[in-house]
């Protein structure tokens, strides 16, 4: 991607206006100050923003938005910048609106079981503040020590416990935010529903394209008394995949159900020494939580199902320390893979669980086709795959091969009835594949939804929803219902 040069005349004009409403230190425009914001967690895409604005409260956000609207300057909101799809990639002619300074927990109500927080509050800080009351905030993306609730709202973030506890959209009651012209809008409520259309659901996961979040009310739930985890080994990945369906088919909803293949466990084991079975072709982590009696009953049922499904080994965490060790490996999968390869590319497709074996065989074929390795970690319970393609950006064509590899896997996800992104978002990364997942009229509807909130297209333009022109350039056809164009042709 070619970076856009900064227009310094325009920059001076906008900076001048912003300095009238923000303190000097809250407006950054020198390149040494704006450079740290040039990318989010998807570092393959970089663009230095024209200006970074750091408002400290809602009134300042409102002032910034009004100026940007008047001058027709695009605005890209950013939380902690941990996003993995380039959703917070700045614009060379835009303002990067960092909400990091708005990090107060405004209220924790242990009776109503809700917390009201500002958008820059870190995900884990909510659970920490709720802990004295025996409560916590359930969605736990792997980046939870750093990522912010505002970013979680923008991306509808998940985590390893969403099969049982849901995504951000299931755990946020209310979002207060500002529309593009700076008008205050409240979506949802502190009751369990709100009148009118469910705009809360629409805004959650909208990647900062509909409104800017200034306050979030989340639901807190009682922390389970006990949690225990089963680590099951399988000598075949497909058997492990079938075991996942068997557990769920038996009427059990585990608190977490994760899978890693051997290349992933090997990378992780070297890094965190979690005690993983390195001979297993695949490992399943299967967690139960609840009261002591409940967990005992469920662990026994799950172990039985896993054994019958062909597990070659089963270990049950005997202590909280051991349970955390099992998870430490899974949660460190990305950094662990980062140690064995100069670069890696994390994918995020979702498929119906029953197609797991098929997709893993497809990924193996892609490894040979592109000459790149690809360990797999997988939120097996909800069919969300994270293949990690290993590459070296210093080798001239490896990034390009990686992107083609990833593109083929995402197309395969669509073809088997899944989606190109389960939790990381479309951002800039998967915008081309949107042309395949959705028809021209579906994309047109998305654009009309965007216009319903933001008529001038100033909020994070160019992300998430491709233009028709872009789709034409990409030149790929829309597929749906398992029908690939020319489905009879070999694709690898």
């Amino acid at each position: 991607m070619r970076a856009e040069p900064i227009n310094f005349i325009r920059q001076a004009e906008v900076v001048g206006r912003l300095l009238a409403v923000l303190p000097r230190e809250a407006v950054l425009y020198q390149s040494e100050d704006t450079r740290p914001y040039e990318c989010d967690g998807l570092s393959a895409y970089r663009q230095v923003p024209m200006i970074v604005a750091l408002p400290a409260d809602e009134a300042e956000v409102q002032a910034v938005l009004r100026i940007c609207h008047t001058l027709q300057v695009p605005v890209v909101a950013r939380g902690a910048g941990t996003g993995l799809s380039g959703g917070a990639l700045p614009m060379g002619d835009g303002v990067l609106l960092s909400l990091a300074k708005m990090k107060s927990i405004l209220a924790v109500d242990p009776v109503a079981c809700v917390a009201r927080v500002q958008p820059g509050v870190r995900n884990i800080a909510i659970s920490e503040a709720a802990a004295p009351y025996g409560l916590y905030y359930a969605p736990d993306p792997s980046s939870q020590i750093a990522c912010t609730i505002g970013g979680n709202v923008a991306e509808n973030s998940g985590g390893v416990h969403c099969l049982k506890y849901g995504l951000t959209v299931h755990n946020v009651l209310r979002v207060r935010g500002l529309g593009v012209t700076g008008e205050i809008i409240e979506l949802g409520s502190e009751a369990l529903d709100a009148p009118g259309y469910d705009l809360l659901a629409l805004v959650i996961g909208s990647e900062g394209m509909l409104a800017i979040t200034t306050e979030v009310t989340v639901r807190l739930i009682p922390k389970p008394e006990v949690a225990r985890c089963i680590m099951a080994s399988f000598d075949d990945v497909e058997k492990a995949g079938n075991a996942v369906a068997d557990v769920i088919g038996a009427g059990i909803i585990p608190a977490g159900l994760e899978m890693m293949d051997r290349p992933a466990t090997r990378a992780v084991e070297e890094f965190v020494h979690a005690g993983y079975d390195l001979d297993a072709a695949a490992l399943l982590l299967c967690e139960s939580d609840g009261t002591a009696e409940e967990v005992e009953e469920e662990i026994a049922r799950m172990s039985g199902v896993l054994r019958r499904s062909g597990a070659t080994g089963i270990r049950i965490s005997a202590s909280e320390a051991e349970r955390l060790k099992f998870w430490a490996g899974r949660k460190a999968a990305f950094p662990a893979v980062g140690r064995i390869s100069p670069d890696y590319y994390c994918m995020d497709g979702t498929i119906p669980r029953k197609r797991l074996g098929e997709i893993l065989r497809f990924i193996a074929a892609m490894e040979s086709k592109y000459g790149l390795r690809c360990p797999n970690v997988f939120h097996a319970g909800d069919g969300n795959l994270h293949p990690l393609i290993l590459f070296d950006a210093n080798n001239p064509d490896e990034l390009e091969r990686t992107e083609r590899f990833a593109g083929e896997v995402l197309e395969k996800c669509i073809a088997v009835g899944g989606t190109i992104t389960g939790e990381h978002g479309v951002g800039i990364e998967k915008i081309n594949q949107m042309c395949m997942q959705f028809s021209a009229s579906e994309l047109a509807l998305f654009r009309r939804v965007k216009q319903a909130f933001d008529a001038d297209g100033l909020l994070n333009p160019g992300k998430n929803i491709p233009t028709l022109h872009r789709c034409a350039e990409y030149g790929r056809m829309h597929v749906k219902g398992g029908q690939m164009p020319h489905g009879d042709l070999p694709r690898f």
Binding site: V111, G134, I184, D193, G196, Y197, G422
Partner: protein, 358 residues
Amino acid sequence: MIEVPEQWASAVRAATQSGCPLRIRGGGTKDFYGHNCDGELLDTRAYAGIVDYEPSELVVTARCGTRLAELELVLAASGQMLAFEPPHFGADATVGGMVAAGLSGPRRQAAGALRDYVLGVKILDGNADILAFGGQVMKNVAGYDVSRLMAGSLGTLGIILEVSLKTQPVPVAQATLRFDLPEEKAVALLNRWHGRPLPVSASVWHDGDLSVRLSGAAAAVKAAVASLGGERMDDEQATHLWTSIREHTTPFFRVDVPLWRLSVPSSLPVDAIGLDRHGERLIEWGGALRWVAGHVDGRVLREAVAEVGGHATLFRGLDKTSGVFQALPPALMGIHRNIKSAFDPHGIFNAGRMYPGL
């Protein structure tokens, strides 16, 4: 033979031409809900059937005209259910009508609302285009979440052709406990229990009588029965109770007086908004849903409820001149109008069912 969606697409084009709106209707069991709307009847029961159901995927896909009772039977045969316990309000309730009404039943506080279980939809929009959003997978963040937007939209955004819903296993064990408690104490107790890891799956208070349903693993239900006290209700009687609450067939929900649905923060004290001065009351969802039956001043009630962060719906009532749903602030109403015209540019779907002009 022309497929039903194609016939409906023609009906949409005809309505656009003639300017005569369509009135989308399934079994008509929720005709009482929302404003009356005129227009040519489009009966969704012509497009029925379960398209796909795989219990181990926890997903069922059904056409709009499928009878809700039939869907629930099919799920039950595999030990699964719709966790949000949707009210039917009659034997003819359809899946499409359920989604459009967006109503959830007794399990709502514990399990989530209907919208939380919508994974994907296929709709026919006001341009006569058939569009699909979401899908059959649990996690999907590609594009805006249009599927959930359909939940509770009262058919004003398009014809829901097909919907994919997340299913859940039926809990292994269940027990209902009964307590003699005044309103205030019941609400306080429910809120205290809500903050503890207890398997409470439903609650209802009326006239000094609190009933609480526990659902989950056998051991968890047994332990909760032992620790919460109260009087255990006979299972058959309990099933009848929860069905009658869900279906509004208890004497409280009699039809001769207006019924108000108040959605409020669960911990709201009983006397906070002068609720105790209004009509007869029935409380569900741990305090978050309060029904009021009686001739109350809607304007006063709505102002009071808005003050505490809630909203009031005239759920059943003959005189709807003061509006069925709580009025929206101007900025939100503006977005609603824009959304409506994004889906239905000619204003032909269930015109005015939710708000005048929408």
